[in-house]
Symmetry: C2
Subunit: 434 residues, 2 copies
């Protein structure tokens, strides 16, 4: 098939749907380098304005999937279920969720990403564990899912390469913030994992990429439609991202908190989110008949040490020091801890997630550019949640740093909290289920 | 100034105006090659959707103008006036209009383009005259305007180079059909000619780029606003392009028709258009006090041979064979002429300009790609105008060809005419004046 690309761009620009053949050819020739960036970026901008309908969305995602390999987990018994979060602040849930679900008999082949922008990435967090390797080759990934029920690894170059190329182009052409493009990026990578079912945690609020509910709902519905169109069972939870999840923001600090959650002693919101997402995964994986049964099983696995036992074995299998599961002193620690204190008493009305995230970024916990290295020890421990009552002088949070970026981070943190005489209205953690 | 280009694209994408500094920097760095094509094409697509407001439009045009040289005609006495047409089928008006206006004392520094798509270009038509050179350097161009009152040349690489680069990119990224981009492209080139005033012939209808009146009116108003914003006097006529202008479509055929118009024996519509546009130019140039006076002067110059005399001198000055002005036999002629005849009698209701244009293109009168060579001898002579009464078997048109493309062209021409029992409603030639 020879495509006249300007006609394809024009058709999308004018609001007409593209054929499956056009979509496949565009993605294929872009990935091969035959279709120049300047035509793809014009098409991406047209998609930004015109969107993709459900059929186009499915075909676009499948074309991205077809640009690379798909992990073959057919030899692993059971319903393979993964979870994906659209990205938040303090989102360490994968680290405690995956072992809890896997220890209950549902295999979890989890491929995660690195942090960029204000959100952290699960890979960076796991690498805070001394020795932990996230670069499993597909064979070892499959074997570990079969043997332990869980593997935690990074995306290899061979899975959905079109996504890497497209993302790099979107990043420099202001075409990132497009629901169809976000959805096809997420789903092409997830479908490449060889999963049978998927639970999506679509974040909404000040700390999320989707700041309002209508967008989050639209993204969630698009993701579910793509996954179901590809023959997978998919559930999506739209969850609150108005304040950091749990208390820790920063790589080693978040691993320590995830371990606390697996000891049944984690912060209430982070534990509840783990339980809710896990219950959905257990139902999809056939290990629970309903959500209440799933919730109960999750609480038990987190309370009785089974989740943590499995996590320790996964850490060991992937080259990491399993003693971190016994004692957080085996995790890297920052040289200095400084508190930010309340200037007045009252109720905490806001813990602004982007300010906290940017403070962590300032002291090296995240990346401004793809090439940057993170300092695994640094970050923020938030001591208060919205609704808490504080007195003047109480610690609101602690900055864990190694000198660099300290002043900027403290300035950010002093702006991060709202305190008022009136308590704020409570917010539900799970805003909507699709 | 260091610009973060994705933010500029994002701002336009989200419907916010760009600052003059941003526009200048984007055009400047694109022209220098520092800003990559893929960012410019995303920005162009965002402009397609969001437009440019009047200030942005002026600054965008000025930035394109500033990318190159401006012809200095300050040393040429008089008000220099040019005409620009947005492109139609059979539009040879420049060739007879410019000498008529110039011989009446208004200097015309005319820089024209080549045909692309379904429309022909004045340069290609002039080059049908044996020996005629359109590549005058700026000094010779200026001297000829001073000495003869008229020069007809092509755009040099040094005038508005940003326009050439942008047009090439727009052509392959489906961002041609954008009124702000069309308007800035036209006006940056026209302002670079060193003119004092400009008459615009904005075509509307089936054979024009603007098919409906609202778009044509919007383009005309944008062109006038840019020109006036740049301190030039500008008039725009929106004129009918529902059927070919005059009878000839094809390069030598159109030159011959333009010469007939300068003999006072041209087709009525083409002559009227020449007179109307010329009257506007004469008023702008101070050679007529009002349009009626301008019309009368134009008719005289076309009727008494003065326009043709000047044209012959310009042809000679630019290396061409002036005998074409005496006898069309000095123009290249096609080897074969075949008529297309009416299958039935009735009134001609339609002469579809794109079908006629495509027929001419098929036999080599136009270009499908920039690099193609045209055959100056080929084309179509349309024997009927809408409203004419015909009998079955009457010739509707003649195809002038040299063998190549003949079957496809005849098939096109057989589809080009509508004949009905009822005469069509007459259409005004000048639809609107701005």
């Amino acid at each position: 098939m020879r495509l006249f690309v300007p006609d394809v761009i024009r058709r999308k620009r004018d609001g007409n749907p593209l054929s499956g053949e056009e979509i496949r050819e565009v993605i294929r020739s872009f990935t091969s380098g035959a279709l120049p960036d300047y035509q793809m970026s014009a098409l991406l901008m047209a998609v930004f304005f015109r969107g993709l309908d459900e059929r186009e969305q499915g075909e676009w995602t499948q074309a991205m999937l077809a640009s690379g390999d798909v992990v073959d987990l057919a030899g692993v018994p059971g319903v393979k279920v993964d979870k994906h979060s659209t990205g938040g602040v303090g989102d360490k849930i994968s680290i405690c969720l995956a072992p809890a679900v896997a220890c209950l008999g549902v295999p979890v082949p989890m491929i995660s990403g690195r942090g960029l922008g204000h959100t952290g990435g699960t890979l960076d967090k796991l690498e805070a564990i001394p020795g932990f390797r996230v670069d499993l080759d597909p064979g070892r990934f499959r074997d570990q899912v079969r043997d332990l029920g869980l593997a935690l690894c990074g995306q290899t170059a061979s899975l959905a390469p079109a996504d890497r190329l497209l993302y790099a182009l979107r990043d420099v052409t202001a075409t990132v913030e497009s629901i169809p493009l976000i959805a096809s990026s997420i789903m092409s990578k997830k479908l490449a994992e060889g999963i049978d079912a998927l639970v999506l945690d679509v974040k909404v609020g000040a700390g999320a990429f989707m700041r309002d509910l209508a967008d989050a709902r639209r993204l969630a519905a698009t993701l579910v439609a793509i996954g179901e169109g590809a023959g997978r069972r998919v559930r999506a939870l739209v969850t609150d991202m108005e304040e950091p999840i749990g208390r820790a923001v920063g790589n080693a600090l978040e691993v320590a908190e995830a371990i606390e959650i697996m000891r049944g002693r984690g912060p209430r919101d982070a534990t509840e989110l783990t339980v809710e997402l896990g219950a959905e995964m257990l139902v999809l994986g056939g290990a629970a008949t309903d959500l209440d049964g799933g919730r109960m099983a999750m609480r038990q696995a987190l309370g009785d040490g089974r989740a943590l036992d499995l996590f320790a074995r996964v850490v060991e299998a992937q080259g990491g020091d399993p003693r971190v599961c016994e004692d957080a002193a085996h995790l890297p620690a920052a040289g200095e801890i400084e508190a930010v204190r309340a200037a007045r008493g009252g109720y905490v009305t806001e813990v602004r997630p982007r300010d906290v995230a940017m403070a962590a970024l300032e002291v090296g916990a995240g990346r401004r550019v793809k090439e940057a290295r993170v300092d695994p020890a640094t970050g923020v421990i938030v001591r208060v949640k919205t609704g808490d009552e504080v007195r003047a002088g109480d610690a609101l949070c602690e900055l864990h740093h190694n000198g660099s970026g300290r002043d900027e981070a403290l300035a950010r943190l002093r702006d991060a909290f709202g305190i008022s005489d009136e308590p704020p209205a409570p917010r539900p953690l799970v805003v909507e289920r699709l």
